[in-house]
């Protein structure tokens, strides 16, 4: 306990309740600081006054009500032993109060007063838990306070049970079995009422813990993904610093992967024309270290004809990647109800389609021939300096656009 701390920092010494070194609410400790006397005398004074018609209890209550919590105390560590001392003090206060009432008679039936005071004390203890919880959060308390809190809660509940039971069974002396039933109900109600804050806190803690767990799981998932993909790629890039083409390839494939993960988490690969073309382009990018931009308008489920278009487009892309150098390649596809059109364009040196030797079959067989076999058409536009554009058209017989 820190007795050297005084709240008298300002010109006017205000009376504060102290949260450190307190027994009940810190009233006595605060008063002792304020008056500059030992706390023991203040406490004794309260007990003596309590014996005098309960004036001490009333005074204590008023101080508790009107004296604010010491704001300088916020950062002080909490005294872990005070739970025990508080229970002791409460016990003695209660006993003192009861003795007093019993001695004076006071018009109150002592048989009723005993349990009433017991219940009251129990309720006070329990509801103060809520208050303490709020304060604990301020101080980022560790979990070790839980034991003390539970002990206090148990004590409070026990007091309530005993008190409520005594009200009904003891002095009132209700008749027979119905009295016992009523007593049981009252006790149960008392427990429910009084343990309310405790249950509330339990529920709150549970929710907080569950949220924390979910957050932790999500974080772990993100971390795992970043590790498997991005960190891995960065390591590979460092190993290939001498090879710009490989670095570019790694970076692009990683970018594509991350982009897909971030923006299209629910996409199913290969199911539609758009994803099929994007996947084909990605494969060519990876294999040849080029950059391909894919733009698709409309979409539809794949069928044999569309698969043929995709394969032809991939072959056209491979061709462009081989001969167009480092220039960008673009793919534009339009999926319409009656036709699918794909353009593959590069900005390479270009060539004359008519002069392609018959044995260079990549373009002729895999692109032109494939489109013809499936009932489509292909057009090749190329000129020196303009690059090359391959246009693929495929009619669609059934209307299955989405």
């Amino acid at each position: 306990m820190n007795d050297t701390t005084t709240p008298a920092a300002g010109p006017v010494a205000r009376l504060y309740r102290r949260s450190d070194g307190r027994v009940l609410a810190g009233v006595a400790r605060g008063l002792a600081d304020h008056l500059g006397v030992d706390v023991l005398y203040v406490r004794l004074a309260f007990v003596v006054l309590a014996a005098a018609s309960g004036a001490g209890v009333v005074a204590y209550g008023l101080f508790w009500l009107f004296a604010p919590q010491d704001p300088y105390e916020a950062a002080q560590p909490r005294d872990r032993e005070r739970d025990l001392t508080m229970l002791l003090a409460l016990g003695s206060l209660t006993v003192g109060g009861l003795l007093l009432l019993a001695a004076l008679g006071l018009g109150l039936n002592p048989g009723l007063a005993v349990p009433l005071v017991t219940v009251g004390v129990g309720v006070v203890i329990l509801w103060r838990q809520v208050d303490d919880d709020a304060r604990e959060r301020w101080r980022q308390a560790t979990g070790t306070d839980r034991v003390g809190g539970a002990a206090r809660a148990a004590g409070g509940i026990a007091l309530v049970v005993v008190g409520a039971g005594a009200i009904l069974v003891g002095p009132a002396n209700l008749d027979g079995t119905s009295g016992g039933l009523v007593a049981a109900i009252v006790v149960a109600l008392g427990i429910a009422l009084v343990s309310g804050p405790w249950w509330m806190r339990m529920a709150r803690d549970l929710t907080a813990e569950r949220n924390a767990r979910i957050r932790e799981q999500e974080r772990a998932e993100v971390a795992a993904h970043v590790h498997d993909s991005v960190l891995h790629t960065l390591t590979l890039i460092q190993r290939h610093v001498d090879n710009p083409r490989e670095v570019g390839r790694l970076a692009r494939s990683q970018e594509r992967e991350l982009r897909g993960w971030l923006y299209r988490p629910t996409a199913t690969a290969g199911a539609t024309m758009t994803s099929a073309l994007e996947q084909a382009a990605a494969e060519v990018e990876d294999a040849h270290g080029v950059a391909i931009e894919v733009v698709v308008v409309g979409d539809s489920a794949l069928d044999d004809r569309l698969l043929a278009v995709r394969d032809a487009a991939r072959e056209a892309l491979v061709n462009a990647a081989k001969y167009a150098g480092d220039s960008a390649i673009s793919v534009y596809a339009e999926v319409e109800p009656d036709q699918v059109t794909v353009f593959v364009r590069d900005r390479g040196p270009g060539f004359d389609p008519d002069t392609v030797p018959a044995d260079r079959l990549g373009l002729r067989q895999s692109v032109v021939g494939r489109m013809d076999r499936h009932g489509g058409r292909s057009t090749i536009r190329s000129g020196a300096g303009d690059g090359t554009e391959i246009q693929l058209e495929m009619p669609r017989d059934q209307r299955s656009t989405t």
Partner: protein, 230 residues
């Protein structure tokens, strides 16, 4: 706002531009800003940088640049917050949106917020410089991807029976222009392919941008959302 923008290309300021284009860079990654600065080189004069929406508004108001290169994703409300704070106040400042995100709703949102174009961050230095100059001259910059988005969006809205207004529909010519841009053609190549002048291509693209900004918001939003869930 759009009335001002439409009259801009003929304003004396645009016609009598001399010297490099004055640019403000807005992006929350310093590495990216310095990269863009280096890539643009002498082609433009970078007069200011900002890393969040609030700072961007301050810098833009103080420097009054010709063009703002605006990141779509920014702390403090994103590029949209900057657009809504500045576009009405300073009609002479033009915005070119720059993003790593290809998400259609992001792209459409900045265009509708008043940006005069959209390019992805993978654009090369010379291409970016050309795009900045084009925006500074009052023209519109459509990347192939943006052209694809617009075609898709307006194709989707024609399915709906409620499109009577011209605003909700692209003309045949506009569609052709956009299709060529989506295929990777430059404005010059588009003009050559359609036997029209570059100026006419620019007029068509500007008209499309205006439709994109003024057309029925509900339809476009629905399209963007639907695209995202594909």
């Amino acid at each position: 706002m759009t009335d001002d923008q439409r009259s801009e290309p003929t304003s004396p300021q645009a016609a009598s531009r001399s010297g490099p284009v004055r640019v403000v860079l807005v992006d929350d990654h310093r590495m990216f800003r310095s990269g863009v600065r280096a890539e643009l080189g002498d082609a433009v004069e970078v007069v200011g940088e900002a890393e969040d929406a609030e700072q961007a508004v301050t810098v833009i108001t103080a420097t009054r640049p010709d063009v703002v290169l605006l990141d779509v994703h920014l702390p403090g409300g994103g590029g949209r917050a900057v657009l809504s704070a500045v576009v009405g106040q300073l009609p002479d400042v033009r915005f070119l949106a720059l993003s790593v995100s290809d998400a259609p709703e992001d792209v459409i949102a900045v265009i509708r917020g008043g940006a005069r174009g959209y390019v992805t961050k993978s654009i090369t230095g010379p291409e970016l410089a050309a795009a900045v100059r084009r925006v500074a001259d009052g023209d519109v910059v459509f990347s192939p991807r943006l052209a694809g988005f617009v075609l898709d969006a307006f194709a989707a809205t024609t399915d709906v029976a409620t499109v009577d207004e011209d605003l909700d529909r692209l003309s045949q010519r506009e569609r052709e222009v956009l299709r060529l841009i989506a295929r990777g053609y430059t404005y010059k190549e588009v003009g050559k392919a359609l036997f029209i002048s570059v100026k006419t291509v620019e007029t068509h693209v500007s008209a499309v941008l205006r439709k994109l900004q003024l057309s029925n918001r509900h339809e476009l939003t629905r399209w963007a959302n639907a695209r995202r869930l594909v």
